[in-house]
Each structure stands twice: as structure tokens, then as C-alpha cells.
């Protein structure tokens, strides 16, 4: 217990948090680079000029939505539909924002604006565990910023590489660099699978993601995520109800054990 609380209350300098964020972003950056390069190539083929392609990566900064928009442009879809698709594709970011909410509410707007802008899949994936592992830390937003800046720069550099050298590295999509993203996400999810509600939620999400894969605009991703969260939450509620009922049948013994545990904990520390 002591080591645990020591780790959790460990404090880091802002620079150290930032650098750790950059380090934690590396595997996801590696997985994202080929997509940035492919985007640069595709956008030019779809009729965007150099500055418009760079503009889309640097101002919009939304990988999936950028791909869909370029695809729709090439197919001659009207502006309203492209914007509509952008909104639907990015709806999942609301889940990220809601999860990060308790951790950013103390920050001034000059922090919340850039952190909101940088809130993409990979940034959420890489920085959210930091907040869970170091709940006492009051400067984890520097870690968030480090991940975000690292991903932003790499996405834009990759886009530029795609614009100018796309034809020379045509096979980059076949190199398998995108596996880095899957490996990272698996490595992040597995340690969470320690209780039944979480296991059930994740399995539900997995099945729904495959079943809904063919739905357009990443709607399947939203359905699968919400489905998994709902199953996890409901199972947790159900377990709590059962535990409550068990406790109420032998209230005294339950309280005694709790007190004993507290005493033991005090003695141990």
C-alpha cells in the first residue's frame, strides 16, 4: 500500500510531464504517420491544392473525417453532406470530452481551448491513463499537451510528406505500420480486464464493432462504444445491488469486517 501511495503522490515538473507525453505518444505516432502520408496523397488526387491539403490537416486535424471528406469530394458530394458526415464521424469525441471533463475543469480557458482542439482518438488513448495512474498529480495537462503537440506535428509533417513524396512511397499503407496502433490499444486495454463488468463491456464493444463495421461514417464505433459502456455499467449496478442485499442480511458481521480492515490498514501504515 505504501509503495502504491508513494507512486501516486509522486510529483513531476511540467517539462517532465510534457516529455513523458511525447514519449507515450511515440507508438501511436508511428501508427498514424502512414495515414497522414496517404491523406496527403489522396487529397492532392481529389483536387485540393498544396495549401488546402496542409490547411485541412492543420486546421481541421481530424484523420477519419479528413479521409471521408476527401473521398466525398472526389465523388462530387455536396458541401452539406460532407459537413454532416464530419459531425457524425466526430461524435465519439464527445465521449472523450466527457471522460476528461473532471480533469480539465480547473484549467483556465487558455488551456482548455488547445486541449479541446487536440482531443483526438490517439491523444485521449495516450493521456487518459496518465490521469488514472497519477490522480494526485495536478499538472497532468502538460502530459496531455505533450501527447497532443507530438501528434499534431507528426500528422502535419506526414501530410506534407504525402503531398510531395506520396508517389515515391506508394506502398507505405502496406508496410503494416498501422499495427502499432492496434498493439498500443491492446496493451492499454488488457490491464483493465480485472473485473467482470469491464470484461463484459469490452467483449460487447468488440462484437458490436465487428457487426456494425460496414455502417458508414464510423457510426459503428459510436454504437459499439456506447453498447460496451452500457453493459459494463449495468453489470456493475447489478453487482452492487446483489452486494447490498447480501450486506443487509448480515449487516453486523459486514461492518465488523470493515472496521477490522480499517484497523489493519492503520496498523500497517
Amino acid at each position: 500500500m505504501q509503495t502504491l501511495s508513494l507512486i501516486n503522490s509522486k510529483s513531476f515538473s511540467n517539462i517532465k510531464q510534457f516529455n513523458q507525453g511525447v514519449a507515450d505518444s511515440i507508438p501511436l505516432v508511428l501508427g498514424g504517420v502512414p495515414f497522414g502520408v496517404i491523406f496527403g496523397t489522396l487529397a492532392m488526387n481529389a483536387g485540393l491544392d498544396v495549401w488546402q491539403t496542409i490547411g485541412m490537416s492543420s486546421i481541421v486535424f481530424a484523420g477519419s473525417a479528413q479521409f471521408v471528406a476527401v473521398g466525398m469530394l472526389a465523388a462530387g458530394t455536396s458541401l452539406g453532406f460532407v459537413i454532416g458526415a464530419t459531425i457524425i464521424i466526430n461524435l465519439r469525441h464527445l465521449i472523450y470530452a466527457a471522460s476528461m471533463l473532471p480533469h480539465v475543469k480547473h484549467l483556465p480557458q487558455k488551456w482548455r481551448v488547445p486541449l479541446g482542439f487536440l482531443l483526438i482518438d490517439e491523444v485521449f488513448a495516450a493521456t487518459y491513463p496518465r490521469y488514472l495512474n497519477y490522480p494526485q498529480s495536478n499538472n497532468s495537462h502538460w502530459h496531455y499537451l505533450g501527447v497532443g503537440v507530438s501528434f499534431y506535428l507528426s500528422w502535419n509533417i506526414a501530410t506534407i510528406v504525402g503531398i510531395f513524396f506520396g508517389a515515391n512511397i506508394e506502398g507505405i499503407g502496406e508496410w503494416g505500420l498501422d499495427f502499432a496502433m492496434s498493439a498500443t490499444f491492446i496493451g492499454m486495454v488488457m490491464p483493465h480486464l480485472i473485473n467482470k463488468p469491464m470484461i463484459a463491456g469490452v467483449l460487447t464493444s468488440a462484437v458490436l464493432a465487428v457487426v456494425t463495421y460496414s455502417l458508414p461514417h464510423k457510426i459503428g464505433l459510436v454504437i459499439a462504444s456506447l453498447g460496451g459502456m452500457t453493459v459494463g455499467y449495468l453489470l456493475e449496478e447489478w453487482q452492487n445491488t446483489i452486494n447490498k442485499n447480501n450486506n443487509s442480511t448480515d449487516k453486523n458481521t459486514g461492518k465488523d469486517t470493515e472496521k477490522n480492515l480499517e484497523k489493519k490498514a492503520e496498523q500497517a501504515s
Binding site: 459537413i83 464530419t86 472523450y96
Partner: protein, 104 residues
């Protein structure tokens, strides 16, 4: 179509979705039930991304030995569950993935 207008509107839509909750973060308090459900958000969203990525890298279900993503993913799952160490999982599964892909 005016491409710059499209870029501006896409940027507006994207930023609004990401920033909307942050904007009034100190005024919004989420219902406790939702907060408890959000505990499941990261593992569920990430799973909804990686499962199709390893099971259907070409868009169709392919859980076979011919699919290096599937093999690499299985290695990652086993190492991840066993060692519960993210970096180790990434390192070993990527080594396996690229070796397997190269041998094919």
C-alpha cells in the same frame, strides 16, 4: 465547391464537438450514473477500434493464419493479459507482427 469554406466549416464542426463540454467544464456536473458509465469509455472505445483493425484489416472478417494483424493481435492480447505492461506488449507484439509479415 469552395474548398476553403469546406475546411472552415469542417474545422468549426470538429472543434465545437471537442470543445463544447470543456467550454463550460466548471459549470457542468455530469450525473453520477453517467460518470460511472464513463469509467468504461476508454477500454470500450479503444476495443471498438483495435478489434476490427486486427480481425478485418481488409474490410472482411479474416481470423486466419494468413492475416499477420490477427497473429500479432493474438500475441499482444496474451502478453497484455499476462504481463499487464503496455510497453512490453507493444514491443513483443510488433516484433512478432513484422517478423511474421516478413516471413510470409
Amino acid at each position: 465547391m469552395n474548398i476553403w469554406l469546406l475546411i472552415a466549416l469542417m474545422a468549426l464542426a470538429t472543434f465545437t464537438i471537442r470543445y463544447a463540454l470543456y467550454a463550460r467544464a466548471n459549470a457542468i456536473s455530469l450525473p453520477p450514473k453517467l460518470e460511472r458509465a464513463l469509467k468504461y469509455s476508454a477500454p470500450c472505445v479503444l476495443t471498438a477500434i483495435w478489434v476490427p483493425a486486427i480481425l478485418m484489416p481488409k474490410g472482411v472478417l479474416d481470423p486466419t493464419l494468413a492475416n499477420p494483424y490477427f497473429i500479432g493481435g493474438l500475441v499482444a492480447i496474451i502478453i497484455g493479459l499476462w504481463k499487464k505492461n503496455t510497453l512490453l506488449t507493444i514491443a513483443i507484439s510488433m516484433t512478432c507482427f513484422f517478423t511474421y509479415k516478413w516471413l510470409q
